[in-house]
């Protein structure tokens, strides 16, 4: 496919550079977080006391699979996808949005019906040696579909009635993802939809009503369908400051019967507490790369995926946190800037939708790491380990650059 050479000159190198820098920082953190695998072993107190040699062997860490190498592969693949997405004009992609939407829905439905259950969820699609989470890619499709729907509207301002169709379309995808279950990913579609609708001209009052309605519906549905551990996470979060012996605690216990998650004998607050300890103990300068006790000794759960930011905070301290947040802010600011300067409504809405998803994921994930919001299985784009999440990030950035470099072109 031929590409106009002038387009290349319009590539936003700052945005691309920022993304790649974050991906590299992510690699380093993944390498640090997965240096040691914590296999339980019988500690022979006798051996430990008898001699240093035996002591050493008892504590000798086992090397975990070099996850960071796989992440290099994911980034490489992501870059290829990025290039492909860059080359195809976003307007042509938008033309195929209905087809992509149907394909997405079919894949998600198929996953629910025929997918293999991994750790109780049907998130994974196995394609030969690759394992993919289609939901991550569906996020891009959803952004495309919603952006197109609102771009086509020529109204000065939109009413609740005008958002029904795109809203329903988004809801179907979100529901299919939520049923896997993957509430975190499903929830990403909500801020995206609102952002695009808002930019598309939805009246603020209608937006407010919609947010309230959605909140209620999501709350009700979520509670009905949520699994034990999901409820527990929420309740743990909501009742952090409620004493279980107190009046409120006892009332809660009457209505909420929560089964402990199998294997999670340490209580639901464990993850959140350990993460906060990791963050706080990092201090200003951090404990040093590869030196974070919480990360290195396995206290931090999901440290290379959803809680990679804890590793950053613990090992590089406030300095590292500031730096990475600054990089994300640069990325997001630049992206919204792209939306503002887009040539057409479609471009603007598409970029805004993608930017909202990225922003939501970054802010929610970092807030979760700090213990400010309940724990959701949301990876941190570009930093967290995971092929699908990396692919999503590069696809999104590809589309954003796609819109940006075509802003002067007819």
């Amino acid at each position: 496919m031929a590409i106009d050479r002038r387009l290349l000159l319009n590539i936003d190198w700052l945005l691309l550079g920022t993304s790649l820098t974050l991906a590299c920082i992510g690699l380093a953190l993944i390498a640090s977080a997965t240096r040691v695998r914590h296999t339980p072993a019988v500690t022979l107190g006798a051996a430990a006391q008898a001699g240093a040699a035996e002591h050493e062997s008892a504590a000798q860490p086992l090397r975990e699979t070099r996850r960071w190498k796989r992440q290099v592969g994911a980034i490489a693949l992501g870059f290829v996808v990025f290039l492909v997405v860059l080359v195809i004009d976003y307007r042509r992609l938008a033309d195929h949005a209905p087809l992509l939407y149907v394909a997405s829905a079919v894949v998600l439905l198929g996953l629910l019906l025929f997918g293999h259950s991994v750790a109780g969820t049907k998130r994974w699609l196995t394609l030969g040696p690759l394992q993919l989470q289609p939901s991550e890619l569906v996020k891009v499709v959803a952004a495309l579909v919603v952006a197109r729907a609102f771009a086509e509207s020529r109204k000065e301002s939109l009413d609740l009635r005008d958002v029904l169709a795109p809203g329903a379309a988004t809801a179907v995808l979100a529901l299919l993802i939520a049923l896997e279950p993957d509430l975190g990913t499903a929830f990403c579609l909500v801020p995206m939809f609102f952002a695009v609708a808002f930019l598309g001209g939805l009246r603020p009052r209608a937006l407010l009503i919609l947010v309230l309605l959605m909140g209620l519906a999501a709350g009700g549905l979520g509670w009905t369908f949520a699994r034990g551990y999901q409820k527990q996470r929420l309740v743990t979060y909501a009742t952090r400051y409620v004493s279980p012996e107190g009046w409120l605690g006892r009332q809660l216990a009457r209505y909420v019967r929560i089964e402990p998650r199998a294997g999670d004998h340490r209580g639901a607050g464990y993850q959140s507490r350990q993460s906060r300890i990791a963050v706080g103990s990092g201090g200003f300068l951090g404990r040093g790369y590869g030196q974070g006790g919480q990360s290195q000794l396995g206290y931090l759960p999901a440290r290379h995926t959803d809680f990679i930011f804890s590793v950053l905070a613990e090992e590089t301290g406030f300095v590292g946190v500031s730096l990475v947040l600054a990089l994300y802010l640069t990325l997001l600011w630049r992206t919204f800037e792209t939306a503002r300067r887009a040539r057409d409504r479609l471009g603007a809405l598409l970029v805004a939708g993608l930017a909202s998803m990225l922003a939501f994921q970054v802010i929610y994930n970092v807030a979760m790491v700090a213990g400010l919001v309940p724990i959701k299985g949301l990876p941190l784009p570009l930093l967290s380990y995971g092929g699908s999440s990396t692919l999503f990030a590069f696809m999104a950035i590809g589309l954003i650059l796609n819109v940006r470099m075509r802003r002067f072109v007819n």
Partner: protein, 602 residues
């Protein structure tokens, strides 16, 4: 033709999103500033608490040696299998498989888990595990990673039951002890002395606990060690006991119930102390099982009681030694005084009997002691009256603990009018003095007190304060020497003479004779029921027989040993207790080593 879209609204609204993101990022940055910079120290501490664990290193308990270095209590290596319940996601399944593997009941494991002092503490699932147990756990280390196998020093007592009451026993610290200041800093589950010398010298024997601070990962597996402070071994206790004599005394009882104690009259050193029936202190070292403990506690023969210091018996005729001393000191009789025994005497309107119905006739103090004439001492008692009797008894150490370094010593009782008024609210009847004169009535003594009385007569009127420990960790311990009680040499000479006659001149204690050694002694029988009751039962019921007593010292000149023996329900002291003393003394004088050890140590 291109249609230019109206982008103004969208562009304006993008700015809203853009600035929202900036605000959100700034907020997050403030939160991280708070968590990392303002509260960093707090979370650093939490992280350290998380990751480091203090593991106490038990100090080996100090050994106990007899006076020639024979080991009486030591530590043997054993293995304990421990479990940290917090690390078990499926505790029930693990308890079930442990119960199967180690042959320990599930309820017992649960009880131990429930009883431990603090969460995250290791629970001993099985103490003193066999090699097989250890092998079966180590072989399953991948299935049961929560288990630890730890070497544990196990207290062992080579003398077994023979040394039980002197040496004592160890056991897990009790709830009450945990709360007391004497055991400050001792963890729940620690073995501490629970009886005997193990208890009274527990503080020394325990040594100082060491500590390891280790970094553990989230599975509780030790990753590295941060601090290692070695434990300081408990110092060794060098005792005055002679292992061979201890064994000899135990054998002298020939499985009968009773007790005996031998001390060096010159110093108060305890050479041997036996109480029977006994128990095996080795059973307690691993934590005795509840049924066995219940059986020991409920045993009517009270094997856990140290009769030498906790048995309060009627002294019977032993008290005549006290009476003779008092009478001579007070001058109510002299060695030459002759009194008449007609087999009975009427005093204060009551008839009091002698054990010999036909009477002893005209009798001196010497013969009265030798033949244990009651009528002679009834009259002495009347002449002395209760006040003086009590005063001399107390002077000789009766009615108060001797101060032996064992816990829970009893004091016995020397009654007097003041005591009776206070406790029973009744006046003293003169007739009671007559009973007291021959050691009946309310008088009670412990065998150790009587051994001290014998020692006092033997060593020239100095009352010893008996003790067991000569040195702790090689440092000799100061001891108070026997204190003079203020008796005239003539008094002591006469009493000694009488006690010699008891054994060597047709006296009641002739069965204690040893050729070549002048044994001096006094027999006694402590009634457990009245004479009438005993007569009615026809003597068939052994439990109604009096306790047989024999106290004394040997040799007569320069005595090296003073002793007290009591055979429960043995009958007459001369028949049951004197032979036990004789068997013991035979070994005392026979065991050349023992003799030399005793001599050499002084």
């Amino acid at each position: 033709m291109r249609i230019y879209e109206d982008m103004r609204l969208a562009q304006a609204r993008v700015a809203v999103l853009q600035y929202s993101v900036v605000v959100a990022c700034a907020t997050l940055l403030v939160v991280f500033w708070y968590l990392q910079v303002l509260r960093g120290r707090h979370y650093r501490e939490l992280a350290d608490n998380n990751q480091s664990r203090q593991i106490p290193i038990q100090a080996p308990r100090g050994p106990m040696l007899d006076r020639s270095g024979v080991i009486l209590a030591e530590n043997r290596a054993s293995f304990s299998i421990l479990l940290r319940p917090e690390d078990c996601p499926n505790l029930d399944a693990i308890i079930a498989s442990l119960s199967r593997l180690l042959h320990v009941s599930e309820s017992q494991i649960r009880e131990r888990i429930a009883r431990r002092g603090a969460p995250f503490q290791l629970v001993v699932v099985k103490a003193n595990a066999s090699e097989q147990d250890v092998a079966s756990i180590v072989a399953r280390r991948l299935e049961l990673p929560q288990l630890e196998v730890n070497p544990v020093p196990l207290r062992s007592y080579p003398l077994g039951p023979a040394g039980a009451h002197a040496l004592g026993r160890v056991g897990e610290i009790t709830e009450r002890q945990l709360g007391s200041d004497d055991y400050a800093g001792v963890h729940a589950g620690t073995l501490v002395g629970q009886a005997g010398l193990e208890a009274s010298y527990n503080r020394f024997l325990m040594g100082r606990e060491g500590v390891r601070r280790v970094i553990v990962n989230s599975h509780g597996v030790e990753v590295r060690e941060e601090k290692h402070e070695e434990a300081v071994d408990g110092p060794r206790l060098e005792l005055t006991l002679v292992a061979a004599l201890q064994r000899a005394m135990e054998q002298a009882f020939a499985r009968r119930a009773g007790c005996g104690v031998a001390i060096d009259p010159r110093t108060g050193e305890v050479l041997a102390l036996v109480s029977r029936p006994s128990f095996d202190p080795n059973d307690f070292s691993t934590g005795i099982d509840p049924t066995r403990w219940a059986r020991l506690m409920a045993d009517p023969d009270t094997p856990l009681i140290d009769r030498v210091i906790q048995g309060q018996y009627s002294p019977g005729s032993l008290f005549k030694v006290v009476m003779a001393t008092a009478a001579l000191e007070e001058g109510v009789v002299t060695p030459e005084t002759i009194l008449h025994c007609a087999g009975q005497i009427t005093l204060y309107g009551n008839v009091f009997h002698c054990h010999r119905a036909q009477g002893h006739g005209a009798i001196s103090l010497r013969r009265a002691l030798a033949e244990s004439c009651n009528v002679y001492f009834y009259q002495v008692g009347v002449r002395l009256a209760i006040g003086r009797i009590a005063r001399y008894a107390q002077k000789l150490g009766l009615g108060a603990p001797t101060g032996l370094d064992l816990p829970h010593e009893m004091s016995g009782l020397i009654p007097d009018p003041e005591w009776k008024q206070r406790v029973q609210g009744k006046p003293w009847y003169a007739g009671e003095t007559v009973s007291v004169a021959i050691g009946q009535g309310q008088v009670t003594v412990t065998p150790l007190q009587m051994a001290c009385v014998a020692a006092c007569v033997a060593n020239g009127g100095r009352l010893p304060k008996p003790y067991f420990v000569r040195a702790i960790g090689g440092v000799p311990q100061p001891h108070t020497a026997p204190q003079p009680v203020g008796l005239k040499p003539e008094t002591l000479a006469a009493v000694r003479d009488g006690m010699w006659a008891v054994v060597n001149e047709h006296g009641t204690g002739w069965r204690a004779q040893i050729t070549g050694h002048d044994v001096c002694g006094k027999t006694g029988s402590a009634q457990v029921v009245s004479h009438e009751h005993l007569a009615r039962s026809g003597g068939a019921n052994e439990e109604l027989l009096p306790h047989a007593w024999f106290i004394g010292f040997a040799p007569r000149d320069n005595p090296r040993v003073a002793f007290a023996f009591l055979v429960e329900h043995g009958g007459a002291g001369g028949e049951a207790a004197a032979p036990v003393a004789q068997a013991f003394l035979q070994r005392f004088f026979g065991e050349n080593d023992a003799q030399q050890q005793v001599a050499g140590a002084n």
